[in-house]
């Protein structure tokens, strides 16, 4: 009895430590936020420009932050039968369906462009936003990618030729909320790190909400009737902090030659199963 009780206690230790750390992180985060809210100036009108950093919360290795592939019931995505079939062909190297490094067919591991919406949903790092009279430009750290979001009143193309990053138009929903619609994406890309699929019919809605001068929130909704029975929220108010205007964003590239070296030294030997 005592032994069972001891075992239970030992088993609970990591959970308790995790809970205490999470609590501490949350509390200090809220405190920092509260303190920030007391000092941050109001959000300027129709302006989301700046250098924004989401911290490590933008990395999202298990899938998008609001819908990681962790097996939890609340994170079940409403796949259509075609969506489920497509999912099975994707072999991610993270999450509950993860495979060994040499067995993944994640196109991004092989340095293909992430495309949209994955640029928001995996390795979302420091992000610079520029505004011109005709468009909003979004510059991503990962892959040194930029996107053009047209704000000149044009519609999305009716029959677009697929692009990795699709076609994007944006409108101000109110003084501080900029909403972007994207279509025409290349179906070779994955929605996220977990390998969620999409078709060429995918529509993405991104909502950039500037909460105050120093804080931006991003929400992303995925709508693809071929793959999902209803739209689902991939990001729910992911927070970015404004960085100084002279902040120097580091390079973060996928280099095919460096990947080949990595795979030779680490990836393949780590995946070796030995004599079967």
């Amino acid at each position: 009895m005592m032994r069972a009780s001891l075992a239970t206690t030992i088993a609970l230790i990591p959970t308790l430590i995790f809970a205490s750390l999470t609590g501490a992180q949350t509390a200090s985060g809220q405190q920092a936020q509260s303190s920030k809210n007391q000092t941050a100036a109001p959000a300027p009108r129709h302006d989301i420009s700046g250098i924004w950093d989401p911290g490590n919360e933008g990395i999202q290795p298990l899938g998008p932050r609001a819908m990681p592939e962790d097996g939890k019931l609340e994170h079940q995505i409403p796949y259509t039968p075609a969506g489920l079939e497509a999912l099975k062909t994707h072999k991610p190297s993270n999450g509950i369906r993860s495979v060994l490094p040499s067995e993944t067919n994640d196109p991004v591991v092989y340095c293909d462009p992430q495309g949209m919406p994955r640029e928001d949903l995996y390795e979302l790092r420091t992000t610079q936003i520029l505004q011109t009279p005709l468009n909003v430009l979004v510059l991503y750290q990962f892959g040194k990618i930029w996107r053009v979001v047209w704000t000149d009143g044009r519609d999305l193309p009716k029959d677009p030729e697929p692009r990795w990053f699709g076609y994007s138009i944006g409108k101000w929903q109110d003084d501080t909320t900029f909403v972007v619609q994207t279509s025409g994406t290349d179906e070779r890309t994955w929605v996220d790190r977990a390998g969620r699929p999409h078709s060429e019919d995918l529509r993405i809605e991104e909502k950039f909400h500037r909460v105050d001068h120093d804080t931006l929130e991003l929400s992303v909704t995925i709508d693809d009737p071929k793959m999902y029975t209803k739209p689902w929220v991939a990001l729910d108010k992911l927070r970015f902090k404004l960085q100084p205007p002279n902040f120097d964003v580091r390079e973060m590239m996928c280099s095919p030659s460096e990947f080949a070296e990595y795979n030779k030294v680490i990836g393949k030997p780590a995946s070796d199963k030995g004599p079967q």
Partner: protein
């Protein structure tokens, strides 16, 4: 023997989620940590991952050539590392997460430099909203 495995301990260390962003964690036994006295042979500062190669002696005194990965340069800089942190010939103490298949491959957890400074290679994040 003492020169080789200073510490091998099993334990549940997932108080935070260590990052295996680019190539995943499937190959690794994340419940284990191994600490080794190491002589650096290469410190490769690269994308998608930096990696460290070093020599360490096994239980029989044979030199084993290890290859260990870390994060991307951007994350490593944030953790206090640089391209100049290590060079061939440096004597360091490496704590790593080993692969499951027994190969001398691992993921760097931390390195204690010759001057006693400890550098962590762990990027920690909170998953889910």
């Amino acid at each position: 023997m003492k020169n080789m495995f200073l510490t091998i301990f099993l334990g549940i260390l997932m108080v935070s989620v260590p990052l295996f962003a680019h190539h995943g964690a499937a190959a690794y036994d994340t419940t284990k940590r191994i600490t080794l006295k190491a002589t650096v042979t290469e410190w490769f500062w690269a994308n998608p991952h930096c990696f460290l190669r070093f020599d360490a002696k096994d239980e029989k005194g044979n030199v084993v050539h290890w290859a260990t990965e870390a994060n991307n340069p951007s994350d490593m800089v944030n953790l206090g590392w640089s391209k100049q942190t290590l060079k061939p010939g440096d004597e360091v103490t490496v704590t790593l997460i080993p692969v499951k298949n027994g190969q001398p491959i691992g993921r760097i957890d931390q390195v204690v430099l010759a001057n006693g400074k400890t550098l962590s290679a762990r990027v920690v994040f909170k998953e889910g909203n």
